[in-house]
Symmetry: C2
Subunit: 219 residues, 2 copies
């Protein structure tokens, strides 16, 4: 997919990073990298003035993100009907141990997308399911049964364009106040990362070897 | 803090788990366990009909959660003024590899809190800062400088009661359709967990040993 002429992250009034603007990133390739590194996003829906935030599995597809829910979900139906949403991905990368409580913080990479979703149907919906599977479970699709008509009918597939976005990255050493720098205590960063544990077969799965594509997964 | 007479998770119309209700949990002690295991929550604020979802560091304090933001943040000021919010914590525990695309899913523990925040001031605010530090960076508080008056003035400390909540846990083996159970392919769960990496001192931190409390941290 060629890159369309889209605005830079943080370039609208609603997405401009006001707090700690030096952490804002305006490069769209960084937006893509952050979205591609995540597995779960937090999506908001407003119902009668009350916001709800639900986790969703997702994938980036060019200049949009794809995620799905149940046609039985009131919140997903609201998104399908064009209710404004916010789609946020946060990757926690570490704890920042400064010499003061105020400067203690976290390393993270975060992306926020504002907009309204469109519903995908037909071939677009089929393609989207495969794209999400390939992102979350690379290599798995060819080993499993594709969705039936009934299963497809129970699934709402949504696409949200990456039109109005912000990206924020915190990856620096502690930013200690001059009065604190000589405090005689360790300071620095304790990294955090996600790792995969040993694959655990279910009862029937134990009869088969762990697939090579699963062994290749890393976080 | 004694446990007040609070409703069970999922017991209001707004928090009843409709989708896959067998994953719903109504035990408040599980709510506490999930909240205590997380470091970051996703909090929603609605502004002019548009929801925003931002990540926050937080801690549970009895039957409420505490989190803070900047007094300079429009979204945090809206929360301070009583704008309805949703506070969601999601812990991703694994990938569930079923024999169909439809049943492929994730292991997770999730909590959602609805309500409005109150602003903490004075001693309550001081206590809350320490409680959050003790949750995220246990043992650190006594080594670092406490917040100055100016720093406190720049910090909005919010408390959200655990009055209206839902808890959902997905921890089962693949729930394959009868037509798929004999498909000749590995199935099971690939666990995911967060781990701490080797603490990395900054320039001045290298002169001191890594504190024992940091070495004791595990995820």
């Amino acid at each position: 997919m060629s890159t369309p002429d889209l605005p830079a992250p943080g370039s609208t009034e609603r997405t401009r990073v006001r707090r700690i603007p030096e952490k804002a990133v305006t490069d769209r390739s960084v937006l893509h990298t952050v979205l591609d590194a995540g597995l779960v996003a937090h999506v908001a829906v407003v119902d009668d003035g009350q916001p709800y935030v639900v986790p969703v599995a997702y994938a980036r597809d060019g200049e949009r993100v794809l995620f799905h829910g149940s046609t039985g979900s009131r919140l997903f139906r609201a998104l399908a009907e064009g209710s404004p949403t916010c789609f946020t991905v946060t990757l926690l990368d570490g704890l920042v141990l400064a010499r003061s409580a105020f400067e203690s913080s976290m390393h993270y990479r975060g992306a926020m997308v504002l907009g309204t979703c469109t519903v995908l149907e037909g071939d677009d919906k089929d393609d989207a399911l495969r794209i999400i599977s390939d992102h979350l479970l690379p290599g798995r699709w060819d080993d499993i049964r594709e969705p039936s008509k009934k299963e497809l009918a129970a699934t709402l597939m949504l696409a949200l364009p990456l039109d109005e976005v912000s990206v924020k990255i915190s990856a620096s050493d502690p930013d200690d106040d001059p009065q604190d720098v000589d405090r005689p205590v360790w300071g620095g960063v304790v990294p955090i990362r996600e790792v995969f544990g040993e694959p655990r077969p279910d009862e029937r799965g134990a009869a088969y070897p762990v697939p090579e594509y699963v062994k290749a997964w890393t976080r």
